[in-house]
């Protein structure tokens, strides 16, 4: 029974965050797929991504971001920022490095390929909370 308020809060948060500003939503819900961000993000986790996180500021090392794969714009990746070069290109790395295809393979990612910053995991309930 105690789960109900949390559930409600999570629903409210996710719905409000995505629906409140319908014109230009600030947050978008993503489902994580794959094992390259273990142990932090698991395949099947639902997260909220702040699409405006980098409107004014550049990504910083340690941030978990959603970015387009520079080799294939239809593929959207979730990785952690491991570095930044002079031109503002980010270097991405999976937390589960042995099982990750990232900047070691495809090089740095330009700012326009960064979709946003992962801020919250809202599902599963047992592991809701801030991310990155």
């Amino acid at each position: 029974m105690r789960v109900a308020p949390v559930l409600f809060l999570a629903a409210l948060l996710a719905a409000a965050a995505t629906a409140a500003c319908r014109a230009a939503p600030r947050y978008r819900r993503y489902e994580v797929r794959g094992d390259s961000m273990l142990p932090g993000l698991r395949s099947g986790d639902w997260v909220l991504v702040d699409l405006r996180a980098y409107a004014l500021a550049a990504p910083r090392p340690g941030h978990i971001v959603v970015a387009r794969d520079p080799r294939d714009p239809h593929l959207t990746l979730v990785k952690r920022v491991s570095g930044l070069d002079l031109h503002g290109n980010t270097e991405l790395r999976g937390d589960n490095a042995p099982a990750s295809t990232d900047s070691r393979r495809f090089g740095t990612v330009s700012p326009d390929q960064i979709v946003g910053r992962v801020r919250w995991r809202y599902w599963p309930l047992a592991r809701t909370g801030r991310v990155g």
Binding site: A15, Y30, D35, S36, S43, L77, T101
Partner: protein
């Protein structure tokens, strides 16, 4: 709950990506082949020493299956060793290559000999690899046998 699920379910996917032809690896395939080897060794032993034609034919058949399954186990183990495991894994499990090498040797031993003890040894090696494999994925997957 259904409505809630629909409300919360993301419409976008973010891939925690890893390249690979399919990325599906599981020591289970090697375990099944190793179990088939052991099963054939037990059947060969149970068949006895008979030299009549039907017994010889059955023994020949059992040996053929044992050979091909041992070969399959070796192949499946090699795929894990060469495709799934990365240098980073070796750092964490320094005896990994030795474990695979010994397991591959056991596959060969199971081909040339008929002793069920070799099949048991191969299954023990596969279990060791199973444990390391799932540990690298951060998952606790119990090892089991189809034929206990």
């Amino acid at each position: 709950m259904n409505l809630l699920n629909r409300l919360l379910r993301p419409s976008h996917f973010a891939s925690a990506h890893c390249d690979g032809p399919c990325g599906v690896y599981d020591p289970a395939s090697a375990r099944i082949a190793a179990e088939a080897v052991l099963s054939m060794e037990k059947k060969i032993a149970a068949l006895g020493e008979g030299m009549d034609t039907p017994t010889v034919n059955t023994r020949t058949r059992f040996i053929g299956i044992k050979e091909s399954q041992a070969d399959l186990a070796k192949r499946d183990l090699n795929i894990l060793w060469t495709d799934y495991f990365k240098p980073e894994h070796l750092e964490k499990y320094p005896n990994l290559s030795d474990t695979f090498w010994k397991a591959a040797k056991l596959c060969s031993k199971n081909k040339t000999e008929q002793d069920p003890a070799n099949g048991e040894a191969l299954l023990a090696a596969v279990e060791e690899i199973h444990n390391i494999f799932w540990a690298t994925k951060g998952r606790d997957v119990a090892f089991y046998r189809a034929n206990p």
